[in-house]
Structure formats: C-alpha cells, structure tokens
C-alpha cells in the first residue's frame, strides 16, 4: 500500500508543482496519472522514489515513510521501485544487456561494479527479461541501435531486473506510435497482472487510460482534481481536468 499524504513540491524558482496532494494506491493496482502538460505528473512520480526531494508531506510505503529515509535506506527502497521513462533513458553507448543489468545495481555490492562484474544469476536473469519483452536477439547490440519501441522494452526489462514491487512509468508511450504504444502498455499490464506489481503510469491519451487503468488520479496545476474509476470521467470532470476550452478527441 502506497499512501501519499499532503505532498507538496515547490521548485527553487518558486513554482508550486504539487499542492497538497493525497491519495492511496493499494498493492497490485494499475493507476493512471493524468493532467495537462505542466500539471505536475512527472514531479509526482519522481517524488515517490525521491529523484526529486519533496518540500512537504509524507509518502508511506507499507508503513515506512520514504521522505524520511536515509541514503542507505533509500537505496533499499529504490531498488524495489522500477522506473520507466518517456525518453527511455538508456545509456546509448552501452550494450543492451548492460543496460538491463544496470537494474541490478541496487542489489550488487558496489565494490564489484568497479570491475563491471555481475553475478552469473543476474546475467541469466537479464536474458530472461529480454526474452519476456521479446528482444532477446538484441542483447549484444548497442542501445542506440534500437528503435524507440525496442528501447522502451529494454527500459521495461531494466525495471523488471529490480524485482520491483512497484513500477513508476512516466509517459512511457508518449514518444511512440499508437501500435507500439499498445504493445508497451500490454507489457506493463502483463507485469501488473501476473507479477502483482503496482503500476503508477502517467498518460496523455484517455483511450489508453480506459483500456488499461484500474483507477485514475488527475492533476491540474499541482492540485488533485479527480480520483476515481476511468469510466467516471464524464464531460464535466473532463473540463475540470483539462480546462474549460478542452475538446474531447478519440
């Protein structure tokens, strides 16, 4: 169970990206985070694994307050939270398999990283994850030789290497075409269903939300403006979330 309590983030410039946001995510839920560009979706997801330091509020995960964790504890918490990014964030010049193995860094002893050594089990596991997302044949290619869809699968494989209990996906399909978008979303859905991993996924397209999400939270200018089932988003709610002038498409 992830509990967000009065979460506020004010950036150095004074921008209030999150304003007193509270909601819960039960284990195993697929939660969509929606909202206009600049509404604070990325900020919210990054506060959860503290890539961004929240200004105020609490993030309780199974009772442990993430915002209070020491660097050492943070390392243990982060390794259980996989993250998938809009721009994939692979290390371009490294091989695909190295990128996937990097998901294990929170577990391995840092001293061995100096020598670029991973345990045998991890390497096997990495090949298995690549198989699972369907690109085992690309293991020894350089990451930047892959297409966008393939790169995102590597990103998912990397997250899976962490044995995550939760995956944060920040617009994982925003840079992909609709067909690829569905294939990536299906991978996330499968991970959510078969492995029982909670997924927090920010999305721009409502049809994806309807198709994949169990529940939705919506942000507008940092404030939580909607929390409920996808089908509850009617025209009025839609205008609350996206503004008065927004038109529904698709």
């Amino acid at each position: 169970m992830l509990q967000i309590r009065n979460l506020t983030k004010i950036y150095d410039g004074g921008v209030k990206a999150l304003d007193n946001v509270s909601f819960d995510v039960p284990d195993g839920q697929f939660l969509a985070v929606i909202g206009l560009s600049g509404s604070g979706k990325s900020t919210l997801l990054r506060c959860i694994n503290r890539l961004i330091e929240p200004t105020d509020g609490q993030i309780l995960w199974n009772g442990e307050d993430i915002t209070k964790a020491s660097p050492e504890e943070m390392r243990r918490i982060r390794r259980k939270i996989g993250m998938v990014f809009q721009h994939f964030n692979l290390v371009h010049r490294s091989k695909v398999i190295t990128n996937v193995l990097a998901g294990r860094l929170g577990y391995v002893n840092p001293a061995w990283s100096l020598l670029n050594r991973f345990p045998k089990d991890d390497i096997e596991k990495a090949y298995k994850q690549l198989e699972r997302v369907g690109i085992a044949d690309k293991a020894n290619h350089r990451a930047d030789e892959l297409s966008g869809g393939q790169q995102q699968r590597v990103g998912i494989a990397r997250a899976l290497m962490q044995d995550p209990a939760m995956i944060l996906a920040d617009e994982p399909v925003a840079s992909l075409d609709p067909v690829l978008a569905h294939s990536i979303m299906k991978h996330l859905e499968d991970i959510n269903d078969t492995d029982g991993v909670s997924v927090l996924c920010s999305l721009h397209f409502l049809d994806l939300v309807h198709r994949y999400a169990d529940r939705v939270v919506a942000l507008n200018a940092g404030k939580l403006v909607f929390e409920g089932l996808p089908k509850e988003i009617d025209d009025k709610k839609f205008k609350d979330i996206y503004g008065r002038d927004a038109e529904r498409v698709g």
Binding site: S70, R79, L90, R93, P110, W112, D121, R158, Q162
Partner: protein, 612 residues
C-alpha cells in the same frame, strides 16, 4: 531599421573615433614592441640572415668521411728589407706543394697561389695563417681552391693587413669525400633527444590524464550538485582524511619494513607474488559478496571489515615484494642484456617507483577509506541521535574539523615561507578554524543536509582555473629549480599542466552529458560510484579520448621547447646549438621536431577517427 538610419551620423562619428583610437593603440604598440624595418634592411643584418638561412638549408644530418691534404707555405708580409728570400725553402715537389707569386707582398696586394701534386678533384679553403706557427689554427680569408684532374689549382687571394718581420704562412686544406655518406654525430644526438622528447610527452600525458579524470568529476556541477551531507558527517569525514593518511602511511611503511626484512631473495619474492593475489582475491570474494538481499548481522560485518583490512595489508605486502622482485630482476638484466640494458634499467626504476609510491598510495587509500567510514558514522549519528545531542556533537566536531583544516594549511604556509612564528602559523589558524566550524554548527540546523558537493566543486574549479593560467614553460622553470635540470622536470611540468587543463575540459564534457540515463540509473538504487560507472563514464568516453589525443598533440609540441628552460628533450640541444651559432646542427633538430610533430599529428588524427 529606421532608427538605425536616423542615428547614422552618430554611428559614423563613433566609427571614426574607434578607428582613431585603434590607430593610436597600434602606434603605441609599434613603439613598445620596437617594430623597426630599418633594422631588417641594414646590410649587416641581411648578410647574417643569408648566412643563417643557408646554414638552415643544409642540416647537419649526413656527412662523408674525408681525406685531407694540408700544405703550409711560408710567406712574408712586407718583403724583408735585405731581399733575403732564400729563407723560404724549396718545396718538396714529390709531395703536394704550393707556389706563391710573388713570394712576398704588402698588405692588400693580390698574390697568386698555385697548387701542385694534390689529389685530383678535391676542394677546400686557401687561407692566410698569421703568426709564425704553421700549426696555428687561426686563419684569415675566404678563398676556395678546386683541383683539376691533375691535382693542380690556381687561386688569387688578397693579403690581409698583418705585417710582420717573421715568416707567416699561406695554407691550403684540400678535402675529398670518400665512401658513402653516413649519419653525423649531430644526427645521433638529435635522435637520442627526440626519443627523450616523445617519451616525455607520453609520460606527461598518461600521468596527467589519470589524475585529471577523478578531478574532472569533482569539477562537474551536475554531479556535485546532488552531493549533500549533514554537518556531523561532513565534519567527521573531514577529520578522517588527515588521521587516515597518517595511519595509512605508518602502517604501510611498517609493512614495507616487514617486506624488506625478508631480504631480496628472488624465490621468496616470487612465492609471495604468486600467493598474495590469490589470498587477497579469495578473501575479498568472501568479505564482499556480490549480492545480498538481507542485511548482514553486526558480528559478520565486523569480521568482514577485519578480513578486508587484513587483505589490504597483504595486498600491500605483495606490492612491496613485487617491487623488490622487479628491482632485483632489473639489476641483473641491466648488466646481462648488453645494448638492451635499458629494459633492465626500466624494470629497476619501476620497482623503485613502486617502493616509493606505495606508502603514499596506502596513505591516500587509508585517508579516503577512513573519511568515508567516519562520514557514514556521522550520517548514522545524525539520523539516530536526538536533535540536541546532534547539535552539541556538531559543534564539537565541526570546530575540531575547522581547526584541523586551517591548522594544516598554516603548517603548509610555515613549510613554504618558514615564518617560524607558531602564533601565526599554528595558533591563529587553529583558533579561526575552530571558531568558523563552531559558527557553522551553531547557525545551521542540526540535521540539515548541507551542499558540500557544491563547496568541493567551487574549490576545485577555482584551483583549476588559477593553475591553468600558469604556462607550462613557467611551471617547467619552477620544477627545474625543484628537481634539477633534465627531462624529469619537464615531465612534472607538462604533467601538471595536463592535469589542470584536461580536468577543466573533461569536466565540461561531464556537465554536458544527458541527464536521462543518470536519473534512470539512480532510480535503480545505484549509489554514486555505480552511477558514475554505469551512466556517466559510457557517455564521456569519446570526448575524453579525443581530448586526450588533442592534449598528446600539445604535449609533443610543448616537450620540444620545454628544453629551452632546462626541462629536457630536444629543445635543450636546439637552444645550445643556436647559442653556439651552430645553425646547421640547429637545422637538423628543427627538421626532427617538424617530422615528429607531423607524425604524431597524423597518428592522433587517425586514432581519433577510429575511436570516436
């Protein structure tokens, strides 16, 4: 546009004024730099210019062995009054001889010098030898003789203004090349020095690069910005450095003593070199498990720490043994290998370097480790202890750290300037440091994370920028004073300059890497070291290589002139020859420099293309 047109008279006036100002600046510049074309036109200058240019065009690279026939013919300048020409003996006509007509003359007269019986087709100077000694090496005049197929020549020469009552001489020195051309001594010397030059550049580049890489991370804002620590941790890790360095130095030196106590028996050395790595690897494998899901218990942690420490000591012991072995092998090779003795010399030096550097390495390693360890304790303390206790702890530790740092700086000043007054170089800095630390602890929140990374970043940047503005040549002068004339001073100077300039360039590359992968690796739970290895390094490899190549180019160029100030390499020879007006030799060295620089340039551009 309209505005521009309106203001155009003003603009013209401005341009006019700027031009005038420019003219004045240039006029002043001409005066200051003493631009004087008159000097170029003067006949004396032109003559020497021609001479130097000609010499430069004939580099002293190849030469022939020569046979030389020298004949000194007695000669009177101003004829003796009594007409006693009989003083001059008849020449021996079976050997080469000279006939001068007339046999005596006044200064300024033209005489005809005829040579017979010389070897055919030889050339050489015909000169007047003043004084009454035929072996005198001083000679006057610039006439050149050239024999025909019969070994005969005729030259007209003007008699210089050297009247004397004694007999003087006219000397013909005819030379003939024999055999094939071969390299001159200058060529051999140049080769020696050019090799020295290339290796000077190589060593400076390698050492400079190795040290510049870690420095460049410290000078990269994007990496250091996120480094934050509570004051307890900062103070403790600051204290950890000096304590660790002292302990490390003492302990490693003790290990060194242990090692040399075993004597330089090759078999013992060999055995320890084989055994220690095995022991170390197995020990570390056990003490540093590759992956662990559960936190180990206290007892296990402490045992592991002990094992790691022991392994490190064993490792250092192995290093000392390795040094002893290389030194003894080097020594025996140096005598037995003959012309490849330099390999033995190299091994011996490597061993020596290891012996000297190991305690320093141990000191640094211990300093870093202890600092890291104490920092963690500080982190833990500030997490676990209550607010008030932390505050008091902070005040004490921060004051101690401040006092230590400033005290050490004071001691450095004392060592540099020998002020000799402990009030200024010890008590005052210690007090100021303590007060500064105290104030810092009082005015920050006890458990707040302070941006220590940015502080380190600023200090590193400032240091780099200051040092970078010092020319390598100036550094060379300093090092020549410190370690004496020779290539070692050059290596140090070029190495230091390489460190500071590369660290700056590298750090700019680190600052421009993509932030995405960094964020992604951090999100997996990787610590700082792992983030650098997996997200930063892959991104900076190509620019690092190309900058290193670029620096290698610069170092080769610099190393050719660093000898001008005594830093070794070919510059030393070049400067010497220029000062001795030996332009043909200087020309050979200039050609060597040009060849080496262009070859290096080519190699580095090829490699850059390959790698990047």
């Amino acid at each position: 546009m309209k505005n521009n047109k309106k203001a155009s008279p003003w603009k013209s006036l401005q341009i006019g004024l700027a031009t005038l100002l420019g003219l004045v600046v240039f006029a002043y510049g001409f005066q200051i730099t003493q631009v004087n074309l008159e000097e170029l036109r003067s006949e004396k200058r032109q003559e020497s210019l021609v001479r130097v240019t000609r010499a430069l065009a004939q580099p002293e690279i190849f030469e022939y062995d020569q046979t030389e026939e020298i004949v000194n013919q007695p000669f009177y300048v101003t004829c003796p009054s009594s007409g006693s020409e009989t003083n001059i003996p008849e020449p021996d006509t079976s050997a080469p001889y000279l006939v001068i007509t007339p046999a005596c003359a006044n200064p300024g007269d033209i005489v005809q010098v005829e040579g017979f019986n010389f070897a055919p087709y030889t050339t050489g100077p015909v000169r007047f030898v003043p004084g009454s000694d035929p072996t005198n090496i001083v000679s006057l005049g610039r006439d050149t003789a050239e024999t025909d197929g019969n070994g005969h020549f005729v030259v007209s020469m003007e008699i210089p203004d050297r009247p004397s009552d004694d007999v003087q001489y006219i000397r013909a020195t005819l030379k003939k090349n024999v055999g094939a051309p071969h390299l001159t001594q200058t060529a051999y010397d140049t080769w020696d020095k050019i090799v020295e030059t290339v290796f000077l550049a190589l060593l400076a580049t390698v050492f400079g690069t190795m040290l510049a890489i870690p420095l460049s991370f410290m000078a990269a804002r994007n990496l250091m910005k996120t480094v934050k620590s509570p004051l307890t941790s900062i103070a403790l890790s600051t204290l950890g450095w000096p304590i660790g360095i002292v302990i490390g130095f003492i302990v490693v030196r003790w290990v060194g003593g242990l090692s040399s106590g075993l004597g330089s028996n090759i078999w013992i050395n060999l055995a320890s070199i084989v055994i220690t790595p095995v022991v170390v690897i197995f020990g570390l494998r056990w003490a540093l498990p590759q992956e662990e899901t559960a936190l180990p218990g206290r007892a296990l942690q402490i045992t592991r720490l002990g094992v790691i420490l022991l392994e490190v000591l064993i490792g250092f012991f192995g290093l000392f043994q390795l040094a002893a072995l290389t030194m003894s092998i080097g020594k025996s090779l140096e005598t037995s290998l003959g012309s490849f003795g330099f390999l033995g010399y190299f091994l011996f030096q490597v061993g020596d370097i290891i012996t000297i550097l190991t305690p320093a390495l141990g000191a640094l390693a211990a300093g870093g480790t202890l600092s890291n360890f104490m920092g963690r304790i500080g982190q833990l303390a500030s997490e676990k202890l209550p607010m008030a206790t932390t505050k008091i702890l902070n005040i004490v530790l921060s004051a101690a750290a401040g006092a230590t740092v400033l005290g050490l700086i004071g001691q450095l000043v004392e060592w540099l300037y020998q002020i000799g007054n402990p009030l200024y170089v010890l008590w005052a800095p210690v007090t100021v440091g303590a007060i500064a630390g105290l104030l810092l602890a009082v005015f920050t929140k006890a458990k707040e994370s302070l941006p220590i990374g940015l502080v380190i970043y600023s200090i590193t940047r400032t240091l780099l920028n200051t040092m970078r503005s010092v020319e390598a040549l100036v550094m060379a002068i300093v090092f020549v004073i410190a370690v004496g004339i020779g290539p070692f001073a050059g290596v140090m100077a070029l190495g230091l300059h390489t460190i500071v300039s590369l660290a700056k360039l590298y750090s700019e590359q680190v600052e421009s890497i993509m932030a995405g992968p960094l964020e992604a690796i951090e999100a997996t739970g990787a610590n700082r070291l792992q983030t650098i290895i997996y997200a930063v390094i892959p991104q900076i490899v190509p620019p690092y290589i190309s900058y290193t190549m670029y620096r290698w180019d610069i170092n080769v160029r610099m190393s050719t002139i660093i000898g001008f100030v005594g830093g070794g390499g070919i510059g030393f020879l070049l400067q010497q020859n220029i000062n001795l007006l030996n332009y043909r030799a200087a020309s050979a060295q200039m050609i060597a420099i040009a060849v080496v620089v262009s070859i290096m340039d080519y190699i580095s551009s090829v490699m850059r293309e390959r790698v990047v």
